[in-house]
Subunit: 165 residues, 2 copies
DNA sequence: CCTTAACTTCACAAATTTCTGAAAGAAGCG
DNA sequence: CGCTTCTTTCAGAAATTTGTGAAGTTAAGG
């Protein structure tokens, strides 16, 4: 008989990893449940799980999953797919998609930029405080540009490392 | 008569910037009070403030300042200085020091690395889940190296831009 | 030494966040 | 169409985080 795709894994070891990694994401500022859902998806073999599967592994209600997934989809760390011929939804982490999201904080960086620019104006570009804020602004603008290039290089590096012919 | 160093600034405009920027730091995951203290320091003309000054600008108790500053010092976003001949302490943001801290998350990245490595072992390097986690690990290792280089280039760029002869 | 000015710690109150159960909403399937 | 299966929403309970006042600690200055 064909085994289900997650067979042969020690569920306890998996869970231990999921919780450990999630805890670090939380420390870095992510919502707890979102972090746990994300870690569970990352560790899953197929890279997809249904709401019910997540609920069981994490021992939480469907409502909690729903909220976490909504957030994760918003920040493009997971995508949602409808299983054809079923009202069951599957949530997926694309291995190449998710850390793109980490650096594609374009919208966020742009909002920071706006705030900092207004700060420079309020403080006066010629004052010491204004100059300090202006330098911070310049740093974030620099960062925004460099992160794009960095991700391009990473994709190349990854292809060489993982897709070696 | 010589004006004190912060004169001529519209305190309300300054406060508005401080709170706006702090709010964005909070959204990015920083503790609220730490964010407010940091923003206030960044916007100050001298780049330093005493506990009392911070307490007054932010309308909070000394205890709150104490906790926030402890955290900020721990992550190297501000440094503490003793005023000679006084038990008053000054907190300072070095304009070049603080965003170094942003990228010098070495310790953090290393801890993430450890967790991910254990994850690869638990899941099995040959399983799809294990491979996905391994790729994530590779990404963070790549990131760690690149961030160092990026910061070097930034320092050069900044010197050209801000210290033009 | 004693006083006093500052900073820190701690127990607790307040505010916020997080999760749940229940009910309502969609969408396949007969 | 109505039944059934899943997902979402929402009000509120529970847990966590955050900030305060008061007491404790440290060190300068007499």
């Amino acid at each position: 008989m064909m085994e289900p795709s997650e067979a042969g894994r020690d569920p306890e070891a998996v869970s231990k990893f999921v919780e450990a990694f999630a805890a670090q994401l939380v420390e870095a500022g992510m919502q707890r449940m979102a972090a746990r859902v994300f870690a569970a998806l990352l560790a899953s073999d197929s890279g997809t799980m249904s709401s019910a599967e997540l609920g069981e592994q994490l021992q939480v209600s469907p409502a909690a999953i729903s909220g976490a997934v909504r957030y994760l989809a918003q920040v493009h760390m997971v995508s949602r797919e409808r299983e054809p011929g079923s009202r069951r939804e599957r949530y997926r982490v694309h291995s190449d998609q998710w850390y793109e999201a980490l650096t594609n904080r374009d919208a966020i960086l742009r909002r920071w930029g706006m705030t900092l620019r207004e700060g420079v104006d309020s403080l006066g570009a010629a004052t010491p405080g204004g100059r300090r804020v202006a330098e911070t602004l310049a740093f974030f603008e620099y960062l925004e540009g460099e992160l794009g290039l960095l991700m391009e290089r990473w994709r190349e590096h990854r292809d060489r490392t993982f897709r070696t012919p």
